[in-house]
Subunit: 240 residues, 2 copies
């Protein structure tokens, strides 16, 4: 276990503020969370947990960025999704009573809060609201996952990349200038990991990026993307 661990007061309150699941906590629940949670720093490259490991509890992300990966025998890695501050990792295997089906790798430094499985069950038993919130979260995630599956078998890589860029707007957009200048994103991922998210080779992504620049849709420079024509970006995944 790396990183600095500390007991914080106010962990429960922070979680309630940051997420739509933990806001169901009552004040006595928060006391339990404050008492039972382990809060620590995380550093890029560190693994929170590994595919196949038994699930010991959940990780609440206070800050930083986590990548959820899955690998197969031949080393083909897929980046299933990104987890941002306010997200809770590991609730799925906990509630399904399964082992982890993916690994969680830290991409940007920050703080996470660990809650043991036993604490989770205790909280859910005394506050059924919490279960309901996670039920809703699971149901929504399932819908998104099915949507994404449908998308991958239906759309071209280019369309899927356009969609990915669009969904990154929410978390990665630089503060807007009010001078009408175009939107700029700071991508939290290397080209390689971007390709992983789409399930393609990095060379293929390079070519897609070249084409998008040629067509004046967006401009890429390092980890910065300038969206030149938001309208055309959206068109990408309407038309095929």
């Amino acid at each position: 276990m790396t990183g600095i661990t500390r007991k914080t007061s106010g962990c429960g309150r922070e979680m309630a503020n940051l997420s739509s699941e933990w806001c169901a906590l009552g004040s006595s629940d928060m006391q339990l969370v404050d008492y039972a949670s382990l809060c620590r720093t995380i550093q890029p490259g560190e693994l929170l947990f590994c595919e196949g490991d038994p699930c010991e509890g959940v990780y609440f992300i206070k800050s930083g960025l986590i990548g959820v990966r899955k690998e197969d025998a031949e080393g083909n890695s897929t980046l299933l999704r990104l987890a941002y501050p306010g997200d809770t990792l590991g609730y799925r295997p906990l509630l399904a009573r399964e082992s982890y089906r993916a690994s969680a790798e830290v991409l940007k430094p920050g703080w996470v809060c660990f809650l043991a499985a036993s604490t989770m069950w205790q909280l859910m038993a005394r506050n059924p609201q919490l279960g309901t919130r996670f039920l809703q979260r699971a149901a929504r995630s399932l819908g998104e996952c099915q949507e994404r599956f449908h998308e991958t078998v239906t759309l071209s890589v280019r369309a899927r990349f356009a969609h990915l860029l669009d969904s990154l707007k929410e978390h990665c957009a630089l503060p807007e200038q009010n001078d009408g200048s175009p939107l700029v994103l700071e991508l939290p991922l290397s080209r390689c990991d971007l390709a992983c998210m789409l399930g393609v080779r990095r060379e293929s992504l390079s070519r897609i990026i070249r084409d998008l620049e040629r067509d004046g849709v967006a401009h890429f420079s390092g980890r910065y993307v300038r969206i030149d024509s938001d309208a055309r970006l959206l068109e990408e995944f309407v038309t095929k």
Copy 2:
């Protein structure tokens, strides 16, 4: 609303016996289900619900077979999954408080039992166990969906088809002869729908089938499949 509708006694008990969610029902819960559920026949081609419709309740499948489909603007249809007796359809949008994100089409005739959303909430309020069961179901389905996503971007169509055949064994195998003769499946789907499940064109599936026959893995005749070499079928999705 087509089909024959009837009030049945014993609907609740039947559901408890057939599924791992509804077995949480207590006897007074079952009475409520018996009283509030609408049971009716379903015929092939009929739609239980449509993508985009608001969710009014859940459908419990007593018998028959349902296909869950998703279509996009260009008419590309994907068969997301099959629903068998014992499955509950529509719980996801209900619990996520969303509209349906897919359509449900009857593939084989049978009986379904409809439970209105209000009844569902009532049941879950008086018996938290039921919510927990659905939470577990949602969590497991989410895991399977992520697994499937990973598979589609990682494996070849041939490997995915092999996997599909393998998973159909559970529901579609003809009764085994104890004379060592090979396993035979009766596919519940047309070639076209099989292709949909893999997200490929039917022509491509035709060719894959030809190759599997050539390689002596399985033999296809109409909707019957004889698995000649189960071992080799399993190899298909280990090796690439």
